[in-house]
Protein backbone atom coordinates (compact mmCIF):
# COMPACT_ATOMS: atom_id res chain seq x y z
CA UNK A 1 0.00 0.00 0.00
CA UNK A 2 1.54 3.27 -0.99
CA UNK A 3 -0.87 6.07 -0.80
CA UNK A 4 0.63 9.56 -0.84
CA UNK A 5 -1.10 12.23 1.17
CA UNK A 6 -0.26 15.91 1.37
CA UNK A 7 -1.90 17.80 4.18
CA UNK A 8 -1.54 21.59 3.88
CA UNK A 9 2.02 21.19 2.65
CA UNK A 10 3.70 24.52 2.09
CA UNK A 11 7.12 25.53 0.84
CA UNK A 12 8.89 28.77 1.56
CA UNK A 13 12.49 28.92 0.31
CA UNK A 14 15.15 30.36 2.60
CA UNK A 15 15.09 33.58 0.59
CA UNK A 16 11.45 34.06 1.62
CA UNK A 17 9.90 33.04 -1.70
CA UNK A 18 6.75 30.99 -1.27
CA UNK A 19 6.98 28.37 -4.02
CA UNK A 20 4.03 26.23 -2.88
CA UNK A 21 1.04 27.60 -0.95
CA UNK A 22 -0.52 25.19 1.58
CA UNK A 23 -1.65 22.33 -0.64
CA UNK A 24 -3.61 19.18 0.11
CA UNK A 25 -4.32 16.19 -2.07
CA UNK A 26 -4.17 12.44 -1.98
CA UNK A 27 -2.75 9.97 -4.47
CA UNK A 28 -4.22 6.50 -4.38
CA UNK A 29 -2.27 3.27 -4.43
CA UNK A 30 -1.10 2.44 -7.95
CA UNK A 31 -2.31 5.69 -9.38
CA UNK A 32 -0.36 7.64 -12.02
CA UNK A 33 -0.66 11.33 -11.21
CA UNK A 34 0.77 14.02 -13.44
CA UNK A 35 1.69 17.43 -12.06
CA UNK A 36 1.50 19.94 -14.87
CA UNK A 37 1.89 23.68 -15.09
CA UNK A 38 3.98 26.43 -16.62
CA UNK A 39 7.65 26.92 -15.82
CA UNK A 40 8.28 28.11 -12.28
CA UNK A 41 4.88 27.12 -10.92
CA UNK A 42 6.38 24.86 -8.24
CA UNK A 43 6.05 21.39 -9.79
CA UNK A 44 9.62 20.38 -9.08
CA UNK A 45 9.45 21.88 -5.62
CA UNK A 46 6.40 19.79 -4.79
CA UNK A 47 7.98 16.63 -6.20
CA UNK A 48 11.26 17.25 -4.40
CA UNK A 49 9.42 17.66 -1.13
CA UNK A 50 7.83 14.26 -1.69
CA UNK A 51 11.30 12.85 -2.45
CA UNK A 52 12.78 14.42 0.66
CA UNK A 53 15.30 16.48 -1.28
CA UNK A 54 13.68 19.70 -0.12
CA UNK A 55 12.47 20.47 3.41
CA UNK A 56 8.76 20.86 3.98
CA UNK A 57 8.12 24.27 5.54
CA UNK A 58 4.70 23.43 6.94
CA UNK A 59 2.17 20.63 6.73
CA UNK A 60 2.40 16.87 6.73
CA UNK A 61 3.44 14.49 3.99
CA UNK A 62 2.57 10.83 4.41
CA UNK A 63 3.62 7.92 2.25
CA UNK A 64 1.89 4.62 2.85
CA UNK A 65 0.13 6.01 5.90
CA UNK A 66 3.26 7.21 7.70
CA UNK A 67 4.28 10.83 8.10
CA UNK A 68 7.67 11.12 6.42
CA UNK A 69 8.50 14.81 6.85
CA UNK A 70 11.65 13.95 8.77
CA UNK A 71 12.55 10.72 7.00
CA UNK A 72 15.74 10.61 4.91
CA UNK A 73 15.25 10.33 1.12
CA UNK A 74 16.98 6.94 1.20
CA UNK A 75 14.52 5.68 3.79
CA UNK A 76 11.32 6.77 2.05
CA UNK A 77 11.39 3.80 -0.31
CA UNK A 78 11.01 6.00 -3.36
CA UNK A 79 12.85 6.14 -6.66
CA UNK A 80 13.31 9.25 -8.72
CA UNK A 81 14.07 9.83 -12.40
CA UNK A 82 15.66 13.21 -13.05
CA UNK A 83 15.39 15.43 -16.10
CA UNK A 84 19.09 15.10 -16.90
CA UNK A 85 19.04 11.45 -15.75
CA UNK A 86 21.64 12.12 -13.00
CA UNK A 87 23.53 8.91 -13.78
CA UNK A 88 26.82 8.35 -11.97
CA UNK A 89 29.28 9.18 -14.75
CA UNK A 90 32.12 7.03 -13.40
CA UNK A 91 30.07 3.86 -12.96
CA UNK A 92 29.07 1.35 -15.60
CA UNK A 93 25.42 0.89 -16.41
CA UNK A 94 25.44 -2.26 -14.26
CA UNK A 95 26.81 -0.39 -11.24
CA UNK A 96 24.50 2.56 -11.83
CA UNK A 97 21.47 0.32 -11.70
CA UNK A 98 22.74 -1.76 -8.79
CA UNK A 99 24.07 1.05 -6.60
CA UNK A 100 20.87 1.54 -4.61
CA UNK A 101 20.58 -2.19 -3.95
CA UNK A 102 24.20 -2.49 -2.90
CA UNK A 103 23.67 0.13 -0.23
CA UNK A 104 20.63 -1.72 1.02
CA UNK A 105 22.76 -4.74 1.79
CA UNK A 106 21.24 -6.93 -0.91
CA UNK A 107 23.48 -9.96 -1.61
CA UNK A 108 25.64 -9.59 -4.72
CA UNK A 109 24.07 -12.53 -6.55
CA UNK A 110 20.61 -11.11 -6.02
CA UNK A 111 21.71 -7.67 -7.22
CA UNK A 112 23.12 -9.19 -10.39
CA UNK A 113 19.90 -11.10 -11.02
CA UNK A 114 17.75 -8.01 -10.50
CA UNK A 115 20.01 -5.83 -12.64
CA UNK A 116 19.84 -8.43 -15.42
CA UNK A 117 16.08 -8.56 -15.16
CA UNK A 118 15.72 -4.77 -15.25
CA UNK A 119 18.17 -4.53 -18.14
CA UNK A 120 16.23 -7.11 -20.09
CA UNK A 121 12.98 -5.31 -19.49
CA UNK A 122 14.51 -2.06 -20.77
CA UNK A 123 16.60 -3.53 -23.62
CA UNK A 124 19.83 -2.56 -21.91
CA UNK A 125 21.48 -5.96 -21.62
CA UNK A 126 24.18 -5.28 -24.19
CA UNK A 127 25.11 -1.95 -22.63
CA UNK A 128 25.61 -3.14 -19.05
CA UNK A 129 29.38 -2.67 -19.15
CA UNK A 130 29.35 0.75 -20.74
CA UNK A 131 29.73 4.08 -19.02
CA UNK A 132 26.88 6.59 -19.34
CA UNK A 133 29.00 8.80 -21.61
CA UNK A 134 29.01 5.98 -24.17
CA UNK A 135 25.22 5.88 -24.42
CA UNK A 136 22.69 7.85 -26.43
CA UNK A 137 20.18 10.10 -24.72
CA UNK A 138 17.43 7.52 -25.00
CA UNK A 139 19.63 4.77 -23.58
CA UNK A 140 20.63 6.98 -20.65
CA UNK A 141 16.98 7.60 -20.06
CA UNK A 142 16.44 3.83 -19.87
CA UNK A 143 19.30 3.44 -17.42
CA UNK A 144 17.67 6.06 -15.23
CA UNK A 145 14.45 4.06 -15.46
CA UNK A 146 16.33 0.87 -14.66
CA UNK A 147 17.81 2.44 -11.57
CA UNK A 148 14.28 3.28 -10.45
CA UNK A 149 12.54 -0.02 -11.19
CA UNK A 150 15.28 -2.32 -9.91
CA UNK A 151 14.66 -1.33 -6.31
CA UNK A 152 10.96 -2.11 -6.52
CA UNK A 153 10.05 1.04 -4.56
CA UNK A 154 6.71 2.11 -3.14
CA UNK A 155 6.66 5.27 -5.21
CA UNK A 156 8.10 6.49 -8.51
CA UNK A 157 8.86 10.17 -8.90
CA UNK A 158 9.59 11.60 -12.35
CA UNK A 159 10.79 15.14 -12.96
CA UNK A 160 10.37 15.89 -16.67
CA UNK A 161 12.17 12.69 -17.62
CA UNK A 162 11.52 13.03 -21.34
CA UNK A 163 12.19 16.68 -21.98
CA UNK A 164 15.75 16.08 -23.19
CA UNK A 165 14.69 13.60 -25.87
CA UNK A 166 13.67 14.33 -29.43
CA UNK A 167 9.98 14.30 -30.29
CA UNK A 168 9.88 10.79 -31.75
CA UNK A 169 11.72 9.16 -28.88
CA UNK A 170 9.62 11.13 -26.45
CA UNK A 171 6.42 9.65 -27.87
CA UNK A 172 7.87 6.17 -27.71
CA UNK A 173 9.20 6.49 -24.14
CA UNK A 174 5.94 8.04 -23.02
CA UNK A 175 4.12 4.89 -23.98
CA UNK A 176 6.82 2.64 -22.52
CA UNK A 177 6.87 4.40 -19.16
CA UNK A 178 3.12 4.27 -18.92
CA UNK A 179 3.05 0.57 -19.83
CA UNK A 180 5.80 -0.18 -17.33
CA UNK A 181 3.97 1.63 -14.57
CA UNK A 182 0.78 -0.27 -15.43
CA UNK A 183 2.62 -3.56 -15.28
CA UNK A 184 4.42 -2.85 -12.01
CA UNK A 185 1.46 -1.09 -10.42
CA UNK A 186 3.69 1.35 -8.58
CA UNK A 187 2.18 4.65 -7.46
CA UNK A 188 3.74 7.41 -9.57
CA UNK A 189 4.02 11.16 -9.56
CA UNK A 190 5.13 12.59 -12.87
CA UNK A 191 6.08 16.21 -13.42
CA UNK A 192 5.89 17.77 -16.87
CA UNK A 193 5.11 21.04 -18.52
CA UNK A 194 4.03 19.21 -21.66
CA UNK A 195 0.26 19.00 -21.71
CA UNK A 196 0.29 16.16 -24.25
CA UNK A 197 2.29 14.01 -21.81
CA UNK A 198 -0.11 14.98 -19.07
CA UNK A 199 -3.21 14.09 -21.09
CA UNK A 200 -1.90 10.79 -22.41
CA UNK A 201 -0.19 9.36 -19.34
CA UNK A 202 -2.22 10.47 -16.36
CA UNK A 203 -4.89 8.70 -14.41
CA UNK A 204 -5.37 12.05 -12.81
CA UNK A 205 -3.88 15.44 -13.59
CA UNK A 206 -3.04 18.14 -11.08
CA UNK A 207 -2.76 21.54 -12.75
CA UNK A 208 -0.54 23.94 -10.82
CA UNK A 209 -0.24 27.66 -11.25
CA UNK A 210 1.96 29.96 -9.17
CA UNK A 211 2.32 27.42 -6.40
CA UNK A 212 -1.33 26.53 -6.03
CA UNK A 213 -3.60 23.87 -7.45
CA UNK A 214 -5.92 25.12 -10.18
CA UNK A 215 -7.67 21.82 -10.74
CA UNK A 216 -7.42 18.10 -10.02
CA UNK A 217 -9.19 15.69 -12.30
CA UNK A 218 -9.02 12.98 -14.92
CA UNK A 219 -7.64 14.08 -18.30
CA UNK A 220 -11.16 14.14 -19.70
CA UNK A 221 -12.53 16.26 -16.83
CA UNK A 222 -9.64 18.68 -17.16
CA UNK A 223 -10.12 18.92 -20.90
CA UNK A 224 -13.85 19.18 -21.08
CA UNK A 225 -14.65 20.95 -17.84
CA UNK A 226 -11.72 23.22 -17.05
CA UNK A 227 -12.11 24.88 -13.68
CA UNK A 228 -10.65 28.17 -14.83
CA UNK A 229 -9.54 30.09 -17.88
CA UNK A 230 -5.96 29.22 -16.84
CA UNK A 231 -6.62 25.49 -17.14
CA UNK A 232 -8.63 26.04 -20.31
CA UNK A 233 -5.82 27.85 -22.02
CA UNK A 234 -3.03 25.66 -20.64
CA UNK A 235 -4.45 22.27 -21.59
CA UNK A 236 -5.11 21.51 -25.23
CA UNK A 237 -3.25 22.43 -28.40
CA UNK A 238 -4.39 24.71 -29.85
CA UNK A 239 -5.84 26.05 -26.60
CA UNK A 240 -9.48 26.72 -25.95
CA UNK A 241 -10.80 29.92 -27.55
CA UNK A 242 -11.60 32.44 -24.84
CA UNK A 243 -13.77 35.34 -25.91
CA UNK A 244 -15.67 38.13 -24.23
CA UNK A 245 -19.41 37.58 -24.00
CA UNK A 246 -22.36 38.87 -22.00
CA UNK A 247 -25.25 37.43 -20.08
CA UNK A 248 -28.41 39.38 -20.87
CA UNK A 249 -32.03 38.38 -20.29
CA UNK A 250 -31.03 34.83 -19.33
CA UNK A 251 -29.06 34.38 -22.55
CA UNK A 252 -25.35 34.24 -23.41
CA UNK A 253 -24.70 36.71 -26.20
CA UNK A 254 -21.67 37.79 -28.13
CA UNK A 255 -21.40 41.45 -29.06
CA UNK A 256 -24.81 41.97 -27.48
CA UNK A 257 -26.34 40.27 -30.51
CA UNK A 258 -26.15 36.59 -31.38
CA UNK A 259 -27.80 34.46 -28.73
CA UNK A 260 -25.83 31.28 -28.04
CA UNK A 261 -27.44 29.51 -25.13
CA UNK A 262 -29.79 29.98 -22.24
CA UNK A 263 -28.42 30.16 -18.70
CA UNK A 264 -30.24 28.91 -15.61
CA UNK A 265 -32.70 31.34 -14.14
CA UNK A 266 -31.34 33.67 -11.50
CA UNK A 267 -27.90 34.25 -13.08
CA UNK A 268 -26.80 37.85 -12.97
CA UNK A 269 -26.47 39.78 -16.17
CA UNK A 270 -22.98 41.05 -17.05
CA UNK A 271 -19.66 40.35 -18.69
CA UNK A 272 -18.36 36.78 -18.85
CA UNK A 273 -15.66 34.83 -20.66
CA UNK A 274 -16.87 32.19 -23.07
CA UNK A 275 -14.72 29.16 -23.76
CA UNK A 276 -14.97 27.13 -26.98
CA UNK A 277 -12.65 24.23 -27.88
CA UNK A 278 -11.51 24.68 -31.50
CA UNK A 279 -12.95 21.28 -32.46
CA UNK A 280 -16.34 22.08 -30.91
CA UNK A 281 -17.08 24.92 -33.31
CA UNK A 282 -18.80 23.55 -36.39
CA UNK A 283 -18.59 25.19 -39.83
CA UNK A 284 -22.13 25.71 -41.01
CA UNK A 285 -23.27 28.10 -43.74
CA UNK A 286 -26.56 28.60 -42.01
CA UNK A 287 -24.92 28.93 -38.55
CA UNK A 288 -25.76 31.73 -36.18
CA UNK A 289 -22.23 33.09 -35.70
CA UNK A 290 -20.25 34.88 -38.41
CA UNK A 291 -16.55 33.85 -38.67
CA UNK A 292 -13.92 35.55 -40.81
CA UNK A 293 -11.09 33.14 -41.78
CA UNK A 294 -7.75 34.81 -42.36
CA UNK A 295 -5.28 31.89 -42.32
CA UNK A 296 -5.67 28.19 -43.06
CA UNK A 297 -3.02 26.16 -41.25
CA UNK A 298 -2.38 22.81 -42.91
CA UNK A 299 -1.45 20.08 -40.41
CA UNK A 300 -1.86 16.95 -42.52
CA UNK A 301 -4.46 15.03 -40.55
CA UNK A 302 -6.49 18.18 -39.98
CA UNK A 303 -6.59 21.91 -40.61
CA UNK A 304 -6.72 24.86 -38.28
CA UNK A 305 -8.67 27.91 -39.38
CA UNK A 306 -7.47 31.08 -37.69
CA UNK A 307 -9.59 34.17 -37.92
CA UNK A 308 -11.93 36.49 -36.11
CA UNK A 309 -15.30 36.01 -34.50
CA UNK A 310 -17.13 39.09 -33.26
CA UNK A 311 -13.90 41.06 -33.58
CA UNK A 312 -11.89 38.62 -31.41
CA UNK A 313 -9.28 36.04 -32.42
CA UNK A 314 -10.77 32.59 -32.84
CA UNK A 315 -9.51 29.21 -34.06
CA UNK A 316 -11.52 26.37 -35.54
CA UNK A 317 -10.32 22.81 -35.96
CA UNK A 318 -11.63 20.98 -39.05
CA UNK A 319 -10.83 17.58 -40.52
CA UNK A 320 -8.69 17.30 -43.64
CA UNK A 321 -11.74 16.58 -45.81
CA UNK A 322 -13.06 20.07 -45.30
CA UNK A 323 -11.66 22.17 -48.12
CA UNK A 324 -11.93 25.82 -47.28
CA UNK A 325 -10.41 29.12 -48.34
CA UNK A 326 -9.89 32.28 -46.30
CA UNK A 327 -12.96 34.48 -46.25
CA UNK A 328 -16.33 34.91 -44.60
CA UNK A 329 -18.23 31.91 -43.26
CA UNK A 330 -20.50 30.96 -40.37
CA UNK A 331 -20.30 28.69 -37.32
CA UNK A 332 -22.66 26.78 -35.11
CA UNK A 333 -21.76 26.47 -31.42
CA UNK A 334 -23.42 23.61 -29.57
CA UNK A 335 -24.50 24.91 -26.13
CA UNK A 336 -23.45 21.68 -24.39
CA UNK A 337 -19.83 22.17 -25.47
CA UNK A 338 -19.45 25.75 -24.21
CA UNK A 339 -17.67 26.73 -21.00
CA UNK A 340 -18.55 29.88 -19.11
CA UNK A 341 -16.09 31.66 -16.85
CA UNK A 342 -16.31 34.66 -14.57
CA UNK A 343 -14.84 37.59 -16.51
CA UNK A 344 -12.76 38.75 -13.57
CA UNK A 345 -11.69 35.75 -11.51
CA UNK A 346 -11.52 33.38 -14.49
CA UNK A 347 -13.25 30.66 -12.44
CA UNK A 348 -15.90 28.52 -14.07
CA UNK A 349 -19.48 29.60 -13.50
Amino acid sequence: MAQVKLDAVRKVYPNGYQAVVPTSFQIEDGEFVVLVGPSGCGKSTLLRMIAGLEDITEGTLSIGGHAVNDVDPADRDIAMVFQNYALYPHMTVRKNIGYGLKNRKVPAAEIEAKVQEAAKMLNLTEYLDRKPSQLSGGQRQRVAMGRAVVRDPKLFLFDEPLSNLDAKLRNQMRIEIKALQRRLGVTSVYVTHDQVEAMTMADRIIVLNEGKIEQIGTPSEIYHNPASTFVASFMGAPPMNLIRAQIEDGQVKINGGTELMAVPAGWDSGEITLGVRPEDAVLDHSGAVPFEISIVEELGAHRLLHGEMAGQPFTVHVSKEVDIQPGQTRLTLNPSTLSLFDAESGKTL
Binding site: M80, F82, Y88, H90, R147
Partner: protein
Protein backbone atom coordinates in the same frame (compact mmCIF):
# COMPACT_ATOMS: atom_id res chain seq x y z
CA UNK B 1 33.62 26.18 -37.10
CA UNK B 2 35.48 28.66 -39.24
CA UNK B 3 39.23 28.86 -38.95
CA UNK B 4 40.86 32.20 -39.33
CA UNK B 5 44.06 31.87 -41.32
CA UNK B 6 47.11 34.07 -41.59
CA UNK B 7 47.79 35.45 -45.02
CA UNK B 8 51.54 35.71 -44.61
CA UNK B 9 53.91 33.22 -43.07
CA UNK B 10 55.83 35.90 -41.17
CA UNK B 11 53.05 37.36 -39.09
CA UNK B 12 52.53 34.29 -36.85
CA UNK B 13 56.27 33.97 -36.33
CA UNK B 14 56.48 37.65 -35.48
CA UNK B 15 53.64 37.30 -32.99
CA UNK B 16 55.21 34.26 -31.35
CA UNK B 17 58.66 35.79 -31.19
CA UNK B 18 58.37 37.69 -27.86
CA UNK B 19 57.13 34.56 -26.08
CA UNK B 20 59.81 32.35 -27.65
CA UNK B 21 62.43 34.91 -26.74
CA UNK B 22 61.32 34.96 -23.11
CA UNK B 23 61.33 31.18 -22.93
CA UNK B 24 64.76 31.06 -24.48
CA UNK B 25 66.34 33.77 -22.33
CA UNK B 26 64.84 32.62 -19.05
CA UNK B 27 64.69 28.91 -19.54
CA UNK B 28 66.68 27.25 -22.31
CA UNK B 29 69.70 29.48 -22.02
CA UNK B 30 70.16 29.06 -18.22
CA UNK B 31 69.27 25.39 -18.49
CA UNK B 32 71.89 24.86 -21.18
CA UNK B 33 74.33 26.84 -19.10
CA UNK B 34 73.66 24.69 -16.04
CA UNK B 35 74.04 21.51 -18.06
CA UNK B 36 77.32 22.79 -19.45
CA UNK B 37 78.81 23.86 -16.14
CA UNK B 38 77.77 20.60 -14.48
CA UNK B 39 80.63 18.97 -16.44
CA UNK B 40 83.24 21.41 -15.12
CA UNK B 41 84.97 22.04 -11.87
CA UNK B 42 84.86 25.78 -11.25
CA UNK B 43 87.63 27.62 -9.56
CA UNK B 44 86.03 29.14 -6.42
CA UNK B 45 87.52 32.55 -7.26
CA UNK B 46 86.27 32.52 -10.81
CA UNK B 47 89.69 31.95 -12.48
CA UNK B 48 88.61 29.42 -15.06
CA UNK B 49 87.32 25.89 -14.94
CA UNK B 50 88.43 22.34 -15.71
CA UNK B 51 86.47 19.74 -17.61
CA UNK B 52 85.76 16.84 -15.24
CA UNK B 53 83.15 14.84 -17.19
CA UNK B 54 80.60 13.13 -14.95
CA UNK B 55 82.62 13.62 -11.77
CA UNK B 56 80.17 16.12 -10.33
CA UNK B 57 77.36 13.59 -10.72
CA UNK B 58 79.47 10.78 -9.25
CA UNK B 59 80.24 13.00 -6.29
CA UNK B 60 76.56 13.60 -5.75
CA UNK B 61 75.71 9.91 -5.82
CA UNK B 62 78.41 9.20 -3.26
CA UNK B 63 77.66 12.18 -1.06
CA UNK B 64 76.01 11.08 2.22
CA UNK B 65 74.76 14.55 3.04
CA UNK B 66 73.16 14.92 -0.38
CA UNK B 67 71.38 11.59 0.06
CA UNK B 68 70.22 12.64 3.51
CA UNK B 69 68.79 15.85 2.08
CA UNK B 70 67.19 13.91 -0.77
CA UNK B 71 65.47 11.65 1.77
CA UNK B 72 64.34 14.63 3.78
CA UNK B 73 63.02 16.29 0.61
CA UNK B 74 61.07 13.17 -0.21
CA UNK B 75 59.53 13.06 3.26
CA UNK B 76 58.89 16.81 3.21
CA UNK B 77 57.19 16.57 -0.19
CA UNK B 78 55.03 13.65 0.92
CA UNK B 79 53.93 15.40 4.10
CA UNK B 80 53.29 18.80 2.53
CA UNK B 81 51.44 17.31 -0.44
CA UNK B 82 49.36 14.98 1.68
CA UNK B 83 48.36 17.50 4.33
CA UNK B 84 47.79 20.34 1.85
CA UNK B 85 45.46 18.15 -0.17
CA UNK B 86 43.74 16.53 2.80
CA UNK B 87 43.03 19.76 4.69
CA UNK B 88 41.92 21.53 1.54
CA UNK B 89 39.56 18.69 0.63
CA UNK B 90 38.12 18.58 4.12
CA UNK B 91 37.56 22.35 4.15
CA UNK B 92 36.13 22.33 0.63
CA UNK B 93 33.62 19.59 1.47
CA UNK B 94 32.54 21.43 4.61
CA UNK B 95 32.35 24.75 2.78
CA UNK B 96 30.50 23.26 -0.16
CA UNK B 97 27.71 22.12 2.13
CA UNK B 98 27.07 25.62 3.43
CA UNK B 99 28.07 28.08 0.76
CA UNK B 100 26.84 26.85 -2.56
CA UNK B 101 27.89 29.70 -4.80
CA UNK B 102 28.74 32.26 -2.13
CA UNK B 103 31.67 33.94 -3.82
CA UNK B 104 32.70 36.36 -1.06
CA UNK B 105 33.89 33.56 1.22
CA UNK B 106 35.83 32.04 -1.62
CA UNK B 107 37.63 35.31 -2.25
CA UNK B 108 38.41 35.71 1.45
CA UNK B 109 39.87 32.22 1.64
CA UNK B 110 41.81 32.80 -1.55
CA UNK B 111 43.73 35.71 -0.03
CA UNK B 112 46.27 33.50 1.69
CA UNK B 113 47.28 32.37 -1.77
CA UNK B 114 48.28 35.91 -2.63
CA UNK B 115 50.92 35.87 0.12
CA UNK B 116 54.44 35.52 -1.29
CA UNK B 117 56.39 32.52 0.06
CA UNK B 118 58.99 34.63 1.96
CA UNK B 119 56.13 36.54 3.61
CA UNK B 120 54.58 33.20 4.57
CA UNK B 121 57.94 32.21 6.00
CA UNK B 122 58.15 35.47 7.89
CA UNK B 123 54.66 35.01 9.33
CA UNK B 124 55.77 31.52 10.33
CA UNK B 125 58.81 33.04 11.99
CA UNK B 126 56.54 35.27 14.04
CA UNK B 127 54.14 32.44 14.91
CA UNK B 128 57.01 30.24 16.04
CA UNK B 129 59.10 32.95 17.71
CA UNK B 130 61.10 31.57 20.60
CA UNK B 131 59.85 33.89 23.30
CA UNK B 132 56.47 35.21 22.25
CA UNK B 133 55.26 33.25 19.18
CA UNK B 134 51.68 32.13 19.78
CA UNK B 135 52.28 28.69 18.33
CA UNK B 136 55.45 28.19 20.37
CA UNK B 137 53.53 29.13 23.49
CA UNK B 138 50.73 26.81 22.62
CA UNK B 139 53.17 23.94 22.02
CA UNK B 140 54.93 24.74 25.28
CA UNK B 141 51.61 24.62 27.09
CA UNK B 142 51.15 21.05 25.91
CA UNK B 143 54.68 20.17 26.96
CA UNK B 144 56.61 20.49 23.70
CA UNK B 145 59.62 22.74 24.12
CA UNK B 146 59.63 24.07 20.56
CA UNK B 147 62.88 25.67 19.34
CA UNK B 148 62.75 26.89 15.77
CA UNK B 149 66.13 27.03 14.05
CA UNK B 150 67.87 25.05 16.79
CA UNK B 151 66.19 21.69 16.92
CA UNK B 152 66.21 19.89 13.55
CA UNK B 153 62.87 18.22 14.06
CA UNK B 154 61.16 21.38 15.32
CA UNK B 155 62.41 23.39 12.37
CA UNK B 156 61.26 20.68 9.97
CA UNK B 157 57.83 20.71 11.62
CA UNK B 158 57.58 24.47 11.22
CA UNK B 159 58.64 24.18 7.58
CA UNK B 160 55.94 21.65 6.90
CA UNK B 161 53.26 23.59 8.76
CA UNK B 162 54.00 26.90 7.07
CA UNK B 163 54.27 25.28 3.62
CA UNK B 164 50.97 23.47 4.10
CA UNK B 165 49.30 26.58 5.43
CA UNK B 166 50.45 28.49 2.37
CA UNK B 167 49.20 25.87 -0.10
CA UNK B 168 45.83 24.92 1.41
CA UNK B 169 43.88 27.90 -0.02
CA UNK B 170 44.74 27.24 -3.64
CA UNK B 171 43.92 23.55 -3.28
CA UNK B 172 40.73 24.52 -1.49
CA UNK B 173 39.62 26.72 -4.38
CA UNK B 174 40.25 23.95 -6.90
CA UNK B 175 38.49 21.33 -4.80
CA UNK B 176 35.58 23.63 -4.12
CA UNK B 177 35.01 24.42 -7.76
CA UNK B 178 35.46 20.72 -8.53
CA UNK B 179 32.77 19.91 -5.98
CA UNK B 180 30.48 22.60 -7.26
CA UNK B 181 30.78 21.34 -10.80
CA UNK B 182 29.32 17.97 -9.81
CA UNK B 183 25.69 18.21 -10.95
CA UNK B 184 23.32 18.69 -8.06
CA UNK B 185 21.01 16.00 -9.38
CA UNK B 186 23.81 13.39 -9.32
CA UNK B 187 24.32 14.03 -5.63
CA UNK B 188 20.59 13.95 -5.09
CA UNK B 189 20.27 10.65 -6.90
CA UNK B 190 22.97 9.37 -4.54
CA UNK B 191 21.00 10.65 -1.56
CA UNK B 192 18.12 8.46 -2.64
CA UNK B 193 20.40 5.47 -3.30
CA UNK B 194 22.60 5.68 -0.23
CA UNK B 195 21.66 6.78 3.26
CA UNK B 196 25.23 7.22 4.50
CA UNK B 197 26.82 10.60 3.76
CA UNK B 198 30.32 9.13 4.09
CA UNK B 199 29.41 6.33 1.70
CA UNK B 200 28.11 8.84 -0.81
CA UNK B 201 31.33 10.82 -0.52
CA UNK B 202 33.60 7.86 -1.25
CA UNK B 203 31.35 6.27 -3.89
CA UNK B 204 30.27 9.32 -5.85
CA UNK B 205 31.85 12.63 -4.87
CA UNK B 206 35.43 11.44 -4.50
CA UNK B 207 35.68 9.61 -7.85
CA UNK B 208 34.17 12.60 -9.60
CA UNK B 209 36.81 14.80 -7.99
CA UNK B 210 39.61 12.53 -9.19
CA UNK B 211 40.57 14.63 -12.25
CA UNK B 212 40.94 17.70 -10.02
CA UNK B 213 42.80 15.56 -7.50
CA UNK B 214 45.35 14.26 -10.05
CA UNK B 215 46.02 17.73 -11.28
CA UNK B 216 46.50 19.05 -7.75
CA UNK B 217 48.71 16.13 -6.81
CA UNK B 218 51.24 17.09 -9.47
CA UNK B 219 51.01 20.81 -8.74
CA UNK B 220 51.50 20.17 -5.04
CA UNK B 221 54.51 17.93 -5.55
CA UNK B 222 56.05 20.64 -7.71
CA UNK B 223 55.15 23.21 -5.09
CA UNK B 224 56.71 21.23 -2.24
CA UNK B 225 59.87 20.61 -4.24
CA UNK B 226 60.47 24.07 -5.63
CA UNK B 227 58.18 26.84 -4.53
CA UNK B 228 58.79 26.34 -0.82
CA UNK B 229 62.25 27.81 -1.35
CA UNK B 230 61.26 31.27 -0.12
CA UNK B 231 59.55 29.91 2.98
CA UNK B 232 62.50 27.72 3.88
CA UNK B 233 64.96 30.50 3.22
CA UNK B 234 63.27 32.75 5.75
CA UNK B 235 62.79 29.99 8.34
CA UNK B 236 66.40 28.73 8.32
CA UNK B 237 68.00 32.08 7.46
CA UNK B 238 71.53 32.49 8.65
CA UNK B 239 72.36 28.96 9.68
CA UNK B 240 71.49 26.39 7.04
CA UNK B 241 74.19 24.21 8.59
CA UNK B 242 72.31 21.85 10.87
CA UNK B 243 68.87 22.77 9.73
CA UNK B 244 66.72 20.71 7.43
CA UNK B 245 66.68 21.80 3.81
CA UNK B 246 65.29 20.58 0.54
CA UNK B 247 67.21 19.78 -2.64
CA UNK B 248 66.38 23.13 -4.21
CA UNK B 249 67.70 24.95 -1.19
CA UNK B 250 70.82 22.82 -1.30
CA UNK B 251 71.45 23.95 -4.90
CA UNK B 252 71.38 27.52 -3.68
CA UNK B 253 73.52 26.86 -0.61
CA UNK B 254 76.22 24.99 -2.53
CA UNK B 255 76.24 27.33 -5.47
CA UNK B 256 76.05 30.69 -3.79
CA UNK B 257 77.39 30.03 -0.30
CA UNK B 258 79.84 27.26 -1.10
CA UNK B 259 80.78 28.63 -4.53
CA UNK B 260 80.74 25.09 -5.95
CA UNK B 261 79.12 26.01 -9.23
CA UNK B 262 79.85 22.69 -10.92
CA UNK B 263 78.34 20.56 -8.15
CA UNK B 264 75.41 22.91 -7.79
CA UNK B 265 74.78 22.78 -11.54
CA UNK B 266 74.79 19.00 -11.45
CA UNK B 267 72.17 19.19 -8.71
CA UNK B 268 70.02 21.53 -10.82
CA UNK B 269 70.27 19.16 -13.74
CA UNK B 270 69.05 16.31 -11.51
CA UNK B 271 66.11 18.47 -10.47
CA UNK B 272 65.41 19.42 -14.08
CA UNK B 273 65.18 15.76 -14.98
CA UNK B 274 62.79 15.29 -12.07
CA UNK B 275 60.56 18.13 -13.30
CA UNK B 276 60.68 16.72 -16.79
CA UNK B 277 59.56 13.33 -15.51
CA UNK B 278 56.74 14.89 -13.50
CA UNK B 279 55.62 16.94 -16.48
CA UNK B 280 55.58 13.94 -18.78
CA UNK B 281 53.63 12.01 -16.17
CA UNK B 282 51.14 14.84 -15.86
CA UNK B 283 50.65 15.17 -19.62
CA UNK B 284 50.10 11.44 -19.86
CA UNK B 285 47.45 11.69 -17.18
CA UNK B 286 45.77 14.67 -18.76
CA UNK B 287 45.67 12.83 -22.07
CA UNK B 288 44.23 9.72 -20.55
CA UNK B 289 42.02 11.52 -18.11
CA UNK B 290 38.51 10.23 -18.39
CA UNK B 291 36.23 12.96 -19.59
CA UNK B 292 32.94 12.41 -17.90
CA UNK B 293 30.05 13.91 -19.76
Amino acid sequence: MKRAGFTTRWLPILLLLPQLLIIFVFFYWPAGHALHSSFFLQDPFGFGSTFVGLDNYRDLAGNKEYMRIARFTLLFTLLVTFFSLAFALLLAVKADNVLRGAKTYRTLLMWVYAIAPPVAGFIGLIMFDQSWGPLTRFLQSIGWDFTLGVNFRDTATAMVIVSVWKQVPVNFIFFLSGLQSIPRSVREAAMIDNRSAAGRFWDVTFPLLAPTGFFLLITNITYSLFETFGTIDVLVKGEPGNNPMTLVYKVYVDGFRGNDLGGSSAQSVVLMVLVLALTIFQFRLVERRIHYT
